[in-house]
Amino acid sequence: MNKEFLHLKHDWWLPAFMLFGGALELLMIGWATSRPITNLPLMIWDMDKTPASRNLVISIENTGTFELVEPATSMDMIKNQMDRGKINAAVIIPQGFAGEISASAGNPILQVILNGAESTPAREAQRAIEGVVWALGEKITIEKLGVNAEQFEGFDFSLRVWFNEALNEAYFTTPAELALMLEFTILIFAALTFSREREFGTLEQLLVMPFTSLEIIIGKSIPVILVGLFDFSIMLGVVHFAFHVPVRGSLPLIFGLAFIYTLVELGKGMAISVFSRSQHQSFLLVLMVGMVDFMFTGYAAPVESMPQIIQTLAKFIPAHHWLEILRGIILKGSTIMDILPNVLWLVILGTIIGFFSLRYIRKALD
């Protein structure tokens, strides 16, 4: 174990990355992902040029979703900019739009073109434009019917959001990123432990020394666990202080479960490490294993929307339970009873993974 630390001292870059790399990355990712979609370039072709059409443009601008680019004067101009990916959407207000609105049997048409080559912003643009047009449509109808507008409240229902009142994106993204970052940190450093020795041919030297294989494994594990938990504390600090995410549950519970999760990933990482012939290979394996886990965690898309078979498989992925646990404790203030199923799954999977990795590593070492 002392040797592991000594190794770290030789190359100061590595300990620096080990201790602070995760937090730095989390800061960067959190900063990039925890903001709403705004400033989407939008092109408007206003053929009508009336107060009514200008009002519509202002309402669209007021949503804050868009940044208006130079107005279009032809379809070619829209096509040209869309092809180049310079705009995410275009709105075409045909001639006579205002007339159709005020006519009693009018049929005002509004054309919207979305850039499907970027589907996420396209959907956001669609949502914003639909909102504006619906509100406008409601107003027009009420005016036409001569109903008292004051009396009519519109069809907006009241919305309440729990656990994240302001719908702050950071609440959603950063705890999940924290969970994933812990996984990657542990996996990578655990995976490099034995493969480094093997690459340098020093594994044999280590094995002829009067240590049992269990002692070697424990000695190699302790630094990884310490670094992992240290990283986790800093990253939790980043989530709380830099992104203002409240930690509503119990800290000892978070750390207790983080420790268990660390052991699970450590087992996986060391098994990869013993299996690999070189550091390069163990890194590529970690990348694959990490990506499989990532797919099942529900970070990017809710697991319940995935096919049934994937939902069943997700139950057997520790990272999936870890993500649920962390989100639950941090944002909902869940107690151990609230997240008991996830905790039990994590412990059971951890025991199985730990048992088999230990057996595999010992066999490989002996």
Binding site: L14, F17, L24, M28, I29, W31, A32, R35, P36, I37, L40, P41, G85, N107, P108, I109, L110, V112, I113, L114, N115, G116, E118, S119, T120, A122, I129, W134, G137, E138, V147, F155, D156, F157, L159, V161, W162, F163, N164, E169, F172, P175, R196, F200, S276, R277, S278, H280, F283, L285, L287, M288, M291, F296, A300, P302, S305, R327, K332, D338
Partner: protein, 377 residues
């Protein structure tokens, strides 16, 4: 620079890769395999969101409304709750993502045209899912209210076709149903083709770590030959994926390919050169493979994911990040791949991005060569 020297380094590196069979296979298959996995993980259409209901109105109209809400695949009724406490409990346990509360005045308000007496509570820990539930409940409520009101108005003699007089015609070009994987697969290419950059960084750091760099430099091979010789095998490995991935994309994920394959191939070589040169810079500076790996994650992997406009529009990024994104080869390449796959544009439009990639590649290679010399002198 002599071709003979360059070839010697390339051959040595290829021999080295081939000797370690496991690593060789991994270098070749990682980009394609990760692309497949990530597409599955990320291109999920949200559906089957569990919701709970609390119906205080208990009228025929509210029951009819509930039926409409849960008629599709988008929202699943988890339970009809009896109280707010029950809903709170379900939200904490994560059993439901949203709850719809129908106020006692629901049918009365609707019939007298006062508005909608509805409340929606969502789990803010997953705003995407919660927002989805809100949108879909709102959309169904709007249609429901429209129907009720127009029949009301018709009965009272006022002629209205619909309460939504504006005919909104939305079309999406290049990807008409806005299927997420259609733009995700071309976008992800710029991430997964960056993986060989890790290998370049690792293999250079490896020579430092094993103290074999000095031996290499004692040979008549120049430094630039050495550096280029190191990245050529990985450019080739990347190219193999460039050849395979479009077929997967088209056959497996139904992504169209409208552009020219030759243009795609040419620009991919240029991208690989630029991206792998980034790995080279890291490999020159780092003395151990683990440090090279950690730095690659920090400067290649994560910016490649989040700042290249694949998941998150560059326009919405803060000023500083927008500047940084310009200097990432992945940003240029994501525009190129989307253009070639989806829009079908050619070199006449894409040449500025190609120039930028060549420029970045030269800057990175130059930096690597410069510091390589200083460090070893």
């Amino acid at each position: 620079m002599s071709i003979r020297h360059l070839w010697a380094v390339v051959r040595k590196e290829i021999q080295h890769i081939l000797r370690d069979r496991g690593t060789f296979i991994l270098v070749l298959v990682t980009p394609t395999v990760v692309l497949l996995l990530m597409t599955y993980a990320l291109a999920v259409d949200i559906e089957h969101v569990s919701i709970a209901l609390l119906d205080y109105d208990q009228s025929p109209m509210s029951r009819q409304f509930i039926q409409r809400i849960t008629a599709g695949d988008d929202l699943d009724l988890y339970t009809a709750a009896g109280s707010m406490e029950e809903i709170e409990d379900l939200l904490v346990k994560g059993k439901i993502k949203a709850a719809l509360i129908i106020d006692p005045d629901f049918s009365a308000d609707l019939l007298s045209m006062r508005g909608l007496a509805l409340q929606v509570v969502i789990d803010g820990t997953e705003p995407e899912t919660g927002g989805f539930a809100v949108d879909h409940i709102g959309w169904r409520a709007e249609i429901f209210a429209n129907q009720i009101l127009s029949s009301q108005l018709r009965a009272s003699g006022l002629a209205v076709e619909s309460l939504q007089p504006i005919d909104l015609r939305i079309r999406a070009w290049y990807n008409p149903s806005l299927v997420p994987q259609v733009d995700l697969v071309p976008g992800l290419l710029s991430v997964v083709l960056g993986f060989p950059a890790f290998s370049v960084a690792l293999t250079l750091a490896r020579e430092h770590e094993h103290r074999t760099m000095e031996q290499l430099l004692a040979t008549p091979i120049t430094r630039i030959e050495l550096l280029l010789g190191k990245i050529i095998p990985y450019i080739l490995a990347g190219l193999l994926n460039v050849l395979v991935i479009p077929f997967f994309a088209m056959a497996w994920f139904n992504v169209p390919f409208h552009g020219s394959f030759l243009v795609f191939l040419l620009l991919s070589v240029i991208f690989l050169f630029a991206e792998l040169s980034m790995g080279m810079v890291i490999g020159v500076f780092m003395r151990s493979q683990s440090a090279a790996l950690a730095l690659s994650f920090l400067v290649v992997m994560f910016p490649g994911f989040f700042l290249t406009g694949i998941f998150f529009p560059i326009a919405s990024l803060p000023e500083l990040a927008r500047m940084e994104s310009l200097f990432l080869p992945g940003t240029q390449y994501a525009i190129i791949t989307r253009g070639v796959f989806l829009t079908g544009i050619g070199l006449d439009v894409l040449w500025p991005y190609a120039i930028m990639l060549i420029f970045l590649g030269l800057v990175f290679t130059g930096t690597a060569a410069l510091f390589f010399r200083k460090k070893l002198a």
